[in-house]
């Protein structure tokens, strides 16, 4: 659906050029809710604006539904943009127009006749649950209501893609959830592909299927949300995950584990990560019964990413005559991810 290849954006300035995007490669599948997360200044907004050419890329290519965006004429670009909706952190509604007028705006731009505009606006108002606010003005609405107007406006021309720039960053947690629900609904019901950028991992965790982590103008990690959560490869990704989930070991605990006196030469501390159905199985009791090892649970948590259970367990295994080694083998066979975080010096054969 959306292919971004070797996208680079340089902002020239008197004090030296700013490379806001550096060789970005991203592929967003049709019907996906794709998240881009990164810290402030990482280049997220620039990336989103390049997708609909609000910013002109310095080099690279962007194709949406087979249309190469970077080579469109101004006229073609206007028409193409009508099929790419966009919503904003600060809503960007027209203060001079009522809710109805704001939602009608893109339709007027497109030259739709008055009657059809009225009908379409009514549909959109009910879709976002604002029918009773049609005559209100933006200044009379709450943040959540303003964003609903923004969403209705972005959907007016039946876009195939919806770009969201920090769409919930100005909202409280509860309102954020209701807006995310609305976005998920839109994605499901209307089949619209959504690209959303955020610095809030919670947003990603709530609704995204795939995610790209962007750091210092580069994509440092990309994959399904479960992949990233269960196996983050970069510190940036780990830090984001720590902010919303306890699947990463808290620093305090890490210090304690490092200092732990291990029971015997075969004592180990392992971290088990599980995703999906396996969390329902009694792994630990099986381990204890089958291999006659002692398991001391140091830390554990189970979390849900959308509907998938997702957990982390840190246990100290005690046992000798190779029993801890066998237990470890068993765990690996089960297909859970196992990391030996202490005692690995004795486990060369693994």
């Amino acid at each position: 659906m959306i292919y971004i290849e070797e996208l680079t954006k340089i902002y020239p300035s008197k004090y030296g050029d700013v490379k806001a995007l550096d060789g970005i490669n991203i592929h967003v599948k049709k019907n996906d809710i794709f998240g881009v997360i990164g810290l402030s200044g990482a280049g997220k907004s620039t990336l989103l604006k390049c997708i609909n050419m609000l910013e002109t890329p310095t080099s690279g290519s962007i194709t949406i539904d087979g249309i190469e965006m970077t080579t469109l004429t101004p006229g073609e670009l206007k028409e193409t943009r009508k099929k790419i909706g966009m919503i904003f952190q600060h809503f960007n509604l027209l203060s001079s127009r009522s809710v109805r007028g704001n939602i009608a705006f893109p339709l007027e731009i497109d030259g739709v006749d008055k009657k059809r505009i009225d009908k379409r606006v009514d549909e959109l108002l009910s879709l976002v649950g604002l029918t009773d606010k049609a005559q209100s003005f933006p200044s009379q609405l709450s943040g959540g209501q303003k964003q609903r107007v923004g969403i209705a406006r972005a959907l007016a021309n039946n876009p195939k893609v919806l770009l969201c720039d920090e769409a919930t960053s100005a909202l409280d947690p509860q309102t954020t959830l209701s807006i995310l629900d609305l976005l998920r609904d839109i994605n499901k019901k209307l089949g619209i592909t959504i690209v959303l950028i955020t610095h809030d991992m919670n947003v990603i965790k709530q609704i995204c299927q795939n995610v790209a982590v962007i750091d210092n103008s580069k994509v440092v990690e990309q994959g399904s949300i479960l992949e990233i959560f269960s196996n983050p490869k970069t510190k940036t990704a780990r830090d984001f995950i720590k902010s919303v989930s306890f699947s990463e070991i808290p620093d305090e605990l890490q210090k304690k584990i490092d200092k732990l006196e291990l029971d015997s030469s075969e004592g180990i501390v392992i971290k088990i990560g599980f995703v999906g159905k396996i969390t329902a199985k009694p792994i630990i009791s099986t381990l204890v019964k089958k291999f006659d090892v002692d398991a001391n649970i140091l830390y554990g948590n189970i979390d849900y990413i959308q509907d998938t259970p997702f957990g982390t367990l840190i246990i100290e295994l005690k046992g000798n005559n190779g029993r801890t080694g066998k237990a470890l083998e068993y765990l690996e066979e089960l297909g859970v991810s196992v990391d030996v975080i202490r005692g690995s010096e004795h486990m060369e054969h693994h």
């Binding site: 604006k49 609000l54 206007k78 966009m86 705006f105 731009i109 021309n157």
Partner: protein, 216 residues
Amino acid sequence: MQIANLLIEPTVETLYMVFTATIFATVFGIPLGILLMVTDKGQILQNLPINRIFGTIVNVLRSIPFIILLFLLIPFTRLLVGKAIGTTASIVPLSIAAVPFMARLTETALREVDKGIIEAAQSMGASPIQIIKKVLIPESLPSIVSGITITIINLVGYSAMAGAMGGGGLGDLAVRYGYQRFKLDIMLYTVIVLVVIVQLIQAVGDFIVKQISKNR
């Protein structure tokens, strides 16, 4: 009674000069202000050569003191209306002073429109013309109306100056009777009429602004 009779004609003349010049200022100044804004760096129709040319013209006109502009424009006025004195002739320098003033006020008003809103309109596929008509002007309308009010009030002051140079109106009256014949009461009444005119214009302007921005 006599004084009232004496005041009526110059008052009408002043209003005629001021409002005709206001029409010119609005018709030319507002589009010029829009041009200055949209052609500037990073704006929707960026065109720096055009922007520099018109910006310079506006700056030059605005830096010439009105009293000097009056003299400088005499040949031009004569060419345009056939004579250089009288109320109709005064409209020429008044308009030429007011157009760049109105242009700058309009430009400032348009700059206050949030860049995000312009970006949103662009993301919806709006053309520059549509953005000007449907975003920039409606969003800054209260400020533009305030600008027109300020321009009119400025023109009242300028018209008195033009009047004093033989252009008719209240300024003319004040100079001829009040100054040259030492009729201080007439001078005083002239000032009172001017104050009333300015107050009225301001009140009407404020009222319109309030009506427009009622819901915002």
